[in-house]
């Protein structure tokens, strides 16, 4: 039995967190391979449907990250995103979708080490939570061909 390797997808904005993650690289700070980044222009662009899709496609965890409040390259994208996250998180919690599996963060272009920290701590959290079997069961329903 090999150790569980969490699948974690990261939705980050181009101007702060993506650049921050670049800095993590240029400063050669090591972090776990489990997290893979998808680049967005702005957190305001990140559709909750994509987070939903990620779980449907088998993600064990999700990171959503962008510019700190007031630092948004587009001035208010992250403010809009924050409201959306507050509502989305509330709904997921009501539905029993484990909100600990989604890590939201503000990581600026200067916070290379913070990015590494976010990644590693998230990976650890998901390791502790284990694979998202409840959701996989729901998503893999057709494969397991349950009752009609």
């Amino acid at each position: 039995m090999t150790e569980f390797e969490p699948k974690i997808i990261a939705f980050v904005c181009n101007w702060c967190t993506y650049a921050g993650a670049d800095l993590t690289g240029t400063s050669r700070i090591k972090y776990a391979q489990n997290v893979k980044i998808i680049r967005f222009p702005c957190t305001g662009r990140i559709d909750f449907m994509l987070l939903l899709k990620s779980f449907g496609e088998g993600a064990d965890g999700i990171i959503v990250s962008g510019c700190h409040p007031n630092d948004c390259h587009y001035t208010s994208g992250n403010f809009h995103a924050r409201r959306r996250w507050i509502m989305f998180r509330g709904l997921l919690d009501m539905l029993g979708i484990d909100v600990r599996r989604i890590q939201y963060s503000w990581v600026s272009a200067a916070e290379g080490s913070k990015w590494a920290d976010i990644v590693n701590s998230t990976v650890n959290t998901i390791r502790e939570l284990g694979p998202y079997t409840e959701y996989e069961k729901v998503a893999g329903y057709l494969e397991k061909e349950g009752k009609e």
Binding site: Y18, D22, G25, Q33, I38, G44, I46
Partner: protein, 667 residues
């Protein structure tokens, strides 16, 4: 069927040291739709780029993925390379195998696997990329400058000297602004008028500058490159072409007791007037509110005495529409009237005045011809007290921010006083001395050391009159809280600099944002200090925040250079990574239902309305429409759109979904 080329870079050893690049290239080759994949030591090098160009030509690639460093580093490089080979540059994507992979992981199977996943993800994205073409917006090379103070003057002259047309709009009868009211300027003590007036004349004479005084912005429509501005030219009641500015009307005008705005109420003016002798244009206007003809219906003295018959009582406001490509806001600031501070007795005691009033007293062209005399009895004050922060840094009764200029002008005032009134005694009550700036600290030192100005660190608690003296009660908190009492002849309040009364309304007219103090907001506090959120509208001077003259002039030139850059091309070409509202076949036309949540969410006012009409011209539907000139491509609207009717090119819904699916399905 797409033919994607994948190019994996070793980046010397930066990537290949921890990632098995050969295997990444090999795995990429296995992906459906990948027609060619290879790895090379330096993809960004000339041979590397040649490799890409050749593959595009020979294999007829429809898309390219370069697995190398961060796209923030080399995306332009590789997109250019693709373009040279005849592939649309936006058909090229980069997988970040260095900053996001090789540099942050140790050499291992997992690291290579991650690299493969990243490449596959971008391959799936690029399959859905569409050729994009930069957006061309024609530019009207005329700038509108609002406000004729030093900021507006500087910006106008810079833009005009670069060979572009400028329309300078000033609400008062003359340009010059606050600077024209000042006596000397810190830290050099050279006369304000002497340095300003030549520039005012230059503006008046410049062939590229159209000056509109006594005029205000009524309406602003359109967007960057193509604004339509409506200007209200208030009736001056004179024919400017006939008027020679001889001034006879002014001397003969019977209504003489109107407090002069220019002299901050310390002097008087007539109903037909020019604000000050060096005014530009030097032609009078009739102040209808105070003219006995307009008020009582009789007088017309000016008309009788005018040698050229230039008086026009029937003249009305005129609305002119202008096509402009850019706008510079330079509407300046205002002085907070210290009447909100009864303890200072401003308004109650004639000899308690504001800093700006002191400027007039000290000015050679002022009501006292530069002699410091008390407004009450014209006596020369032997003791004078200056109160710094009379309103600034006072969240309770004034404004929380620092007005920035007061420390310096107060030091200057004290200095001027000492120079003009020998043996006079001057005191300055202050909180802190903020003298950051070239030669500023030295200037303050001079005031203290050479001119023996007494700085008292502490606040003034009360000012009251007692047998012809102003008793100033305060505390000296420098060493201990020691009460101080000074019998002064005159008190000068360094009242706070605040936004202009009309600022909020103006901002709304132009759709630019403003802060809680009604100062105009810059687009980015650090990186876009002269831009506003609305492309094509720029900021200069104290309308953005309190500033001294050098700062204002610098920002004005900054704004001007932004305008000049904008005007340097006939068309402005913008990144096509912007939002678009979909179109679908009739009878639907667009899946947009026109809820316009996107409009309210857009930080750039880039989303307007479009009416869809049938052949008979009947409106069938109202949908959202993105203005490509304004959209900055943040995509906030896209995430809002419930019906997914608005999408953003380059980060489209299909592309992002494809990335998610590809990233999470690695078999």
């Amino acid at each position: 069927m797409s033919k994607i080329g994948v190019f994996i870079c070793h980046c010397g050893e930066n990537i290949s040291a921890t990632v098995d690049v050969a295997r990444v290239a090999e795995a990429a080759g296995q992906i459906d739709g990948v027609a060619f994949s290879t790895d090379y030591k330096y993809m960004c090098s000339d041979p590397g780029q040649t490799m890409i160009r050749q593959a595009i030509k020979e294999k007829g690639l429809t898309g390219v993925v370069v697995g190398s460093c961060s796209p923030r580093m080399h995306e332009p490089t590789f997109r250019k390379a693709c373009q040279e080979a005849g592939l649309n540059p936006f058909m090229c994507e980069m997988a970040n195998l260095r900053e996001h992979c090789s540099w942050v992981h140790d050499k291992s199977e997992a690291t290579t696997q991650k690299a493969i996943d990243l490449v596959r993800t971008l391959v799936e994205k690029v399959k859905l990329n569409k050729p994009l073409f930069s957006i061309k917006v024609p530019v009207t090379k005329t700038a509108l400058v609002i406000g004729g103070g030093i900021a507006g003057i500087q910006a106008s002259l810079d833009i005009a000297s670069a060979g572009h047309q400028v329309i300078l709009v000033e609400k008062d009868p003359s340009i010059g602004g606050h600077m024209s009211q000042l006596s000397e300027t810190f830290p050099t003590l050279d006369c304000s008028q002497c340095i300003l007036t030549p520039r005012m004349v230059e503006v008046a004479q410049h062939p590229n500058i159209t000056l509109m005084t006594y005029a205000e912005l009524e309406k602003l429509e359109g967007s960057i490159g193509n604004f339509k501005a409506t200007i209200r030219k208030k009736a001056k009641s004179i024919d400017e072409n006939l008027c020679t500015g001889c001034g006879t009307c002014i001397t003969k005008c019977p209504t003489k007791k109107i407090p002069s705005e220019f002299n901050t109420g310390l002097g008087m003016r007539t109903a037909i007037y020019v604000p000050f002798p060096q005014a530009v244009p030097n032609k009078p206007v009739i102040d209808k509110a105070n003219c006995s003809y307009y008020q009582k219906g009789k007088c017309k003295v000016c008309e009788k005495v005018c040698p050229t018959g230039a008086i026009r009582f029937d003249q009305e406001d005129e609305l002119v529409e202008l096509e402009v490509g850019a706008v510079v806001i330079a509407t300046g600031f205002d002085i907070m009237q210290p009447s909100g501070f009864p303890e200072y007795g401003y308004g109650k005691y004639k000899d308690v005045i504001t800093g700006l009033q002191f400027e007039r007293l000290a000015s050679a062209s002022g009501p006292t011809l530069g002699e410091i005399r008390r407004p009450s009895d014209g006596k020369i004050p032997e003791k004078i007290v200056f109160v710094a922060c009379a309103g600034s840094r006072d969240p309770a009764k004034g404004i929380p921010y620092c007005s920035k200029i007061c420390c310096m002008y107060t030091a200057k005032h004290a200095m001027l006083y000492q120079h003009k009134v020998h043996g006079g005694k001057s005191y300055i009550f202050y909180m802190d001395i903020r003298a950051a700036g070239k030669n500023y600290e030295e200037f303050v030192r001079r005031a203290i050391v050479e001119d023996a100005v007494n700085y008292i660190r502490g606040r003034v608690s009360k000012i009251y009159e007692e047998n012809g003296k102003l008793i100033v009660k305060g505390v000296d908190t420098l060493l201990s809280a020691k009460p101080v009492e000074i019998e002064a002849d005159m008190v000068v309040l360094a009242s706070a600099a605040v936004a202009n009364p009309g600022a909020e309304e103006l901002a709304q007219k132009m759709h630019v944002s403003y802060d809680s103090y009604n100062f105009f907001s810059e687009a980015h506090p650090k990186l876009k200090p002269v831009e506003t959120n609305t492309a094509g509208i720029f900021l200069a001077g104290a309308c953005q925040a309190p500033k001294d003259i050098p700062e204002t002039v610098a920002q004005a030139s900054g704004a001007a250079s932004k305008v000049i850059i904008l005007f340097s091309k006939d068309e402005l070409s913008r990144d096509p990574l912007i939002a678009v509202v979909n179109r679908s076949p009739a009878p639907v036309f667009s899946t947009c239902v026109g809820c316009f949540m996107c409009t309210s969410a857009c930080p750039y006012q880039a989303i307007g309305e479009e009416l869809i009409t049938n052949r008979q011209g009947k409106v069938i539907k109202k949908v959202a429409k993105v203005n490509p000139g304004l959209c900055q491509g943040c995509g906030t609207c896209v995430a809002f759109c419930r019906s997914k009717s608005i999408d953003i090119q380059g980060y489209s819904n299909e592309q992002m979904c494809a990335e998610v699916v590809a990233l999470l399905n690695n078999d």
